[in-house]
């Protein structure tokens, strides 16, 4: 007798778990293919964060509200970073799924600031353009970054439109109902808000940039 086909995984009556950004890849690597410097680079970027103190207990993965969407949960990311799995880490969905809620940072028994490590990984991936085309999280980060550097403030409405423009115009349609509702309730700023002393802000950011270059 054939057993009935099991129902698809369906948490709380929700739709089947979507395959999100990447397929989970399982690769075997030789030690010579790894980048032994990667762990130290990330640690430096995360302000000397001691990821080598990690005892691999898995508290971070257990406590993370989005770990089940990640291709590698946070505990594995830490292990992979320090072993030098550079490509896998930088192209993983994990770093973009971290919403920086700091739950892992608060709970880590070794006081490792995992959120800062995720930020460091995002910075490296964005600098190297290592993210899928039209993927909204880094696109939003860059849109936001540019807008604030230029105007000093962020216009939420304009940012949403720009993200849709750069990812999928279908999103504009998806959010049109929401946009109308925000408009009718007076919850959207129509003109680009800016600060008065934009030049002062630009000078400040340039100064930081120069200090960074000199330190290199």
């Amino acid at each position: 007798m054939r057993s009935p086909t099991p129902a698809p995984y369906s948490p709380s009556g929700a739709a089947e778990r979507p395959s999100l950004l990447y397929e989970v890849r399982k690769v075997l690597k030789y030690e010579s293919e790894l980048n032994p410097e990667f762990g130290r680079e990330v640690a430096r970027k995360a302000h000397g964060e001691n990821l080598f103190a990690c005892i691999q207990c898995g508290t971070c993965s257990g406590t993370c509200p989005v770990s089940h969407y990640m291709d590698y949960a946070p505990r594995r990311i830490i292990a992979m970073v320090r072993e030098g799995f550079e490509d896998e880490v930088l192209t993983s969905s994990t770093i973009w799924l971290c919403a920086s809620c700091y739950q892992c940072t608060v709970d880590c028994p070794k006081q490792i600031k995992l959120t800062d490590i995720m930020y460091a990984l995002k910075q490296i991936a964005i600098a190297k353009h290592l993210y899928p085309k039209k993927f909204a999280v880094p696109i939003m980060a860059e849109e936001f970054y540019r807008g604030v550097a230029k105007n000093g403030r962020n216009n939420e409405g304009m940012m949403m439109v720009n993200i849709a423009r750069k990812t999928s115009l279908l999103n504009l349609f998806k959010y049109s109902r929401l946009g109308m509702k925000l408009f009718t309730t007076g919850r959207v700023a129509l003109r680009q808000e800016g600060i008065e002393h934009k030049e002062q802000l630009r000078t400040l950011l340039r100064g930081v940039e120069r200090a960074e270059e000199e330190a290199r």
């Binding site: 950004l21 799924l97 809620c101 939003m140 980060a141 808000e193 002062q200 802000l201 400040l204 950011l205």
Partner: protein, 293 residues
Amino acid sequence: MKYLYYPGCSLKSTGKPYEESLKAVFSALEVPLEELKDWNCCGATAYMAVNEVKSFALSARNLALAEKQGEPAENGMVQLVAPCSACYAGMLKAQRYLAENEEIRKRVERGLSDASLSYAGKVQVRHPLDVMVNDIGLEKIKGAVKSPLGSKVACYYGCQIVRPYATFDDQASPFALDTLMEAIGAAPLDWAMKTRCCGGTFVATIREVGLRLNYLILKEAQRKGADLVATTCPLCQFGLECFQHEVNSAFRGDIRMPVAYFTQMVGLSFGIPEKELGLQRLFVPYKKASIGG
């Protein structure tokens, strides 16, 4: 004591009802709130993903401006109120790194001096919830209540208001909002989602994940029999309320849960007119009359 007010970008657009109700409540309590002049964006989480030191520099400019504009309180620190959790956490984080990391401090100070600004570390960043519970005090608030609310409220703190740099309340199980809600006559529910992350901007970027995180929070509030969810953060409010229609269609849900700013609820209990609290701007109406009290 006078407080400086740092609105941040959200309170000027999607979070407008937060600003309106915050101002109305502080004015009813006769606590002066003065907006920081020429403030810039805090950088939020997005800026940190591109360049962290620059995001600290953004905060440093606001702190420098606050130090110049404000009058120090009794403890010698200018009190800067940041109602948005992302701004609040961002500024606290910047302060921490500026104090503890010499390399970062040097870079940011270089930028500040180029821009003819200076920051001596004399600003204390405060969340309005902290100010209301710990400075103004529950006794004074109780005294101002004209019509106790009587609704069952799920207090939702969100993630960034309590972790990891916050200066008040418990990181895992905060209670400041619960005590405030009790003070205005509402009944806070015991529930497990108080500080569970809502995903923030994920509703706009990784939609499936964002909607799901919001669904979990809303569903739990519904299961516990909440009349409404009280929030302290414009990002949480935006996801939980404005995307409720999308959440329902994605998860075949039947949730219709008002999500109000805690300041709106305090204002209602003070008898402040609904329009002055921005209640007409909510997608899912919350009216005191409709839920008794």
